[in-house]
């Protein structure tokens, strides 16, 4: 019987666990490869995307670098051209060396400068200063007379042609972009410096070119001076003259070149290319917000993710459906099984599937039918057995009643017969003649025989009806034997036979058993032995046989029993000659009763015999010791 409690508390849940397993397995097996593919492709896309961005930024940086380099080179070239012509050189050096205060000389030099200025694009003004730093000629007359000694480019300009790092000066908000060129006379002596001031917006213009840098991409230059921006930020709220710090800025100002992802000066994550420009002593930055750089990537990723999720959902649904289709018939089968277990044998599985599960269903149904039939026949048998038992019991009861009634009915008339007979024999009804007395005693004798017969019959019937209670009381076999001898002695004497009684010393002193019945059986055997022995002796021996059984052996030297008779000698009413003629008296039930007695006491009886020599009857009984003695034994 299936224990309901041992199944999951809800049939539904029991289904889902298998269903879940199947679905999960299906999902995993179908989604996992997809997920892996998506993941790896996503990784590649990310890498590619990053590479793209990096390439873009790198290219932009390189482009700016080249532009600046070109500008520097071009500007320096321009300054060199100014004094390319030997005549111009002489004019300049003469002026510087000797004629600084000469207005005419100054004018001539100034004209040269002005002409040059007109012909080129790099500078907005040119000026020349002497070794003291005093400007002696300039395309902007205002400059003439000013001192450059404290200008940051002054010291370096005396040493070499240079471009000075852009700087701010007092009195103006413009960036100073100063190129210098040594003016050396024919003797090789430094006599002065020619300087050009580039358009302060040049660098800003370069940096403002942001093609391909999207909405958040920018390039700018950072100065070592307080980390100021030398070109404007693309974004509002970030003035140039302020200190800016970021990983990229710090690295470029430290002289490094590279590319990195970091939090930019606007506190926004950026990808930045940073370069150090040693000529200009500035840091070049090309940055783009990571959000923008990876926007496309993120879109792709998101699309991929959505696709993957959709695929997963589809898998889940498909898997679920598939799982249900597999699991539902199992569930149906389970339900039918439960119904069967609960006793409803009419249930059959309604599985129509054409597959293994269908086969299972068919086999199951067959089994159920078989089960039903078997159960029905079983029930019939049980019913029959019950009826039989009831009938047997009833029969038994009737038998008992019959016995009781018969006993009573038979005894009552016998009472009159024997009673009156005895009264008459006792002379209470007056004297009788000898013939009358003789006949009376024969009547009495036969009446007694009749009574014996009745008693034996009833005894046998009682024993067979099981209406005997076997006692298990302690008794002493020795005393029993002696008692029996006392009772049978006279009978044996009467017939001129010897009676020997032997008790095995090995036999326990006390045994448990029904002493009365043992006595009855033994006396039965002894009376038979005496009856069938003409001369000689009859022996009763009680002896132990092993520790488990003991025997009562009655031996006689009587007429014996032929071999063929041994098998039915214990049957009712059968005499040795096979007839029921009783030459030797007795009821004919003695041995049957004795056998019954032996058997109900847990033992049995057997006989050996030789015709003409005698017979030996052996009752075997189990040894049953009283408890106290059992321990000792």
């Amino acid at each position: 019987m299936i224990n309901q409690a041992s199944m999951q508390s809800s049939r539904f849940r029991s289904l889902t666990s298998l269903r879940t397993t199947l679905t999960a397995a299906f999902v995993v097996l179908s989604v996992l490869p997809v997920a892996a593919a998506v993941f790896f492709s996503s990784q590649r896309i990310q890498a590619q995307s990053q590479a793209q961005v990096n390439t873009l930024l790198d290219a932009a940086a390189q482009n700016k670098l080249d532009t600046i380099q070109n500008w520097i080179a071009g500007s320096q070239q321009t300054l060199r051209i100014a004094l390319a012509h030997e005549d111009d050189v002489i004019e300049m050096t003469d002026f510087l060396s000797f004629h600084k205060d000469d207005e005419a000389a100054r004018a001539a030099v100034t004209k040269n400068l002005t002409d040059l200025l007109a012909k080129q694009q790099d500078f907005v003004s040119l000026f020349v200063y002497d070794l003291n730093g005093e400007i002696v000629a300039a395309t902007d007359p205002v400059d003439v007379g000013k001192f450059t000694k404290t200008a940051p480019y002054f010291e370096g300009s005396l040493v070499a042609d240079s471009v000075h790092p852009p700087f701010y000066n007092v009195g103006s908000s413009d960036l100073n972009l100063i190129f210098t060129r040594q003016i050396i006379d024919e003797q090789g002596k430094l006599v002065g410096v020619m300087a050009g001031r580039a358009n302060p917006n040049t660098l800003a213009a370069f940096m403002a070119q942001r093609a391909g840098l999207g909405e958040t991409g920018e390039t700018y230059l950072v100065s070592l001076e307080s980390n100021y921006f030398l070109t404007p930020s693309r974004f509002e709220g970030f003035p140039q003259r302020r200190s800016y710090h970021s990983e990229g800025i710090n690295r470029s100002l430290a002289g490094e070149d590279g590319l990195a992802s970091y939090v930019g000066y606007r506190d926004v994550p950026v990808i930045g290319v940073y370069r150090w420009l040693p000529d200009l002593q500035v840091g070049l930055m090309v940055e783009e917000d990571q959000a923008e750089a990876y926007a496309a990537l993120q879109q792709t990723q998101r699309a991929n993710l959505i696709a993957a999720v959709v695929a997963a959902l589809i898998s889940v649904i498909a898997g679920s459906v598939l799982a249900i289709r597999i699991v539902r018939p199992i569930g149906a089968l389970t339900r039918v099984t439960q119904a069967l277990a609960a006793g409803d044998l009419t249930q059959r599985a309604a599985i129509q599937a054409r597959n293994e599960i269908g086969d299972l269903g068919i086999a199951f149904n067959q089994m159920a039918s078989q089960l039903g039939e078997t159960l029905q026949s079983l029930e019939k048998s049980v019913q029959e057995a019950r009826v039989a038992t009831a009938m047997a019991r009833e029969a038994n009861r009737l038998k008992s009643e019959f016995l009781s009634t018969m006993s009573h009915e038979l005894r009552t008339p016998l009472n009159a017969i024997i009673g009156f007979t005895e009264i008459m024999m006792a002379g209470m009804s007056g004297p009788m003649s000898e013939k009358q007395q003789h006949k009376m005693s024969r009547i009495h004798l036969n009446s007694k025989r009749l009574l014996d017969l009745i008693n034996d019959l009833l005894d046998l019937a009682k024993i067979e009806a099981g209406r005997v209670d076997v006692l298990y009381e302690p008794f002493a076999p020795r005393d029993l034997a002696h008692g029996i001898r006392a009772q049978m002695e006279s009978l044996a004497e009467q017939r001129g036979l010897g009676l020997v009684v032997r008790v095995d010393p090995q036999l326990p002193t006390v045994l448990l058993g029904d002493a009365g019945r043992i006595e009855q059986a033994t006396k039965n055997l002894l009376s038979n032995a005496i009856k069938f022995t003409k001369e000689g002796s009859v022996e009763l021996a009680l002896h132990a046989n092993g520790g488990d059984v003991w025997e009562i052996v009655v031996t006689d030297s009587g007429i014996g029993i032929p071999p063929h008779a041994l098998e039915y000698i214990f049957d009712e009413f059968r005499q040795v000659d096979g007839t029921s003629q009783r030459a030797y008296g007795g009821s004919g039930l003695g041995l049957a009763i004795t056998r019954n007695l032996s058997r109900i006491m847990g033992g049995d009886i057997r006989v050996t015999s030789t015709v003409g020599q005698g017979s030996t009857f052996t009752i075997t009984l189990p040894v049953s010791l009283p408890e106290e003695l059992e321990a000792v034994a």
Partner: protein, 133 residues
């Protein structure tokens, strides 16, 4: 026995049985020895009779119509005057346990049919101490 027998002539015994032959057997033996024997054929008759006499012992069959031996015993025991009178069951019910049942119900003795005429008197004396007087 002779002592007992000599007293028997004083005995007054009531014999109750629905079988006349059974009554006759017992009555003949007892009267032979001089006892006074009354008889009834069932318990009811016996009770009627007992209203007028108080016997020294009652010998009663068990299975009788109208009132059986068990009921008779019960009724006798209820009677103050008759409680001391021993009642002996004299019955053909000789199966195992019948005697115990009888004794348990209050019969002073339990004799089974067919009785032994020769030993009847002795049996009565042996089993009924009251009769020895």
């Amino acid at each position: 026995m002779s002592e007992a027998i000599s007293r028997i002539s004083d005995w007054r015994i009531l014999v109750v049985d629905d079988e006349m032959d059974s009554i006759d057997v017992v009555t003949e033996v007892l009267e032979f020895y001089g006892a006074t024997v009354y008889n009834a054929s069932n318990g009811l008759e016996a009770l009627e009779l007992l209203e007028t006499i108080t016997p020294d012992a009652i010998l009663s069959d068990l299975s009788m119509p109208k009132m059986d031996g068990w009921a008779l015993l019960a009724n006798i025991r209820k009677n103050e005057r008759l409680t001391a009178v021993p009642v002996v069951a004299l019955t053909a019910h000789a199966m195992a346990g019948d005697e115990q049942r009888g004794k348990a119900a209050g019969f002073s003795a339990y004799l089974t049919k067919p009785i032994s005429v020769i030993t009847l008197i002795q049996d009565l004396v042996d089993q009924l101490p009251g009769l020895r007087q």
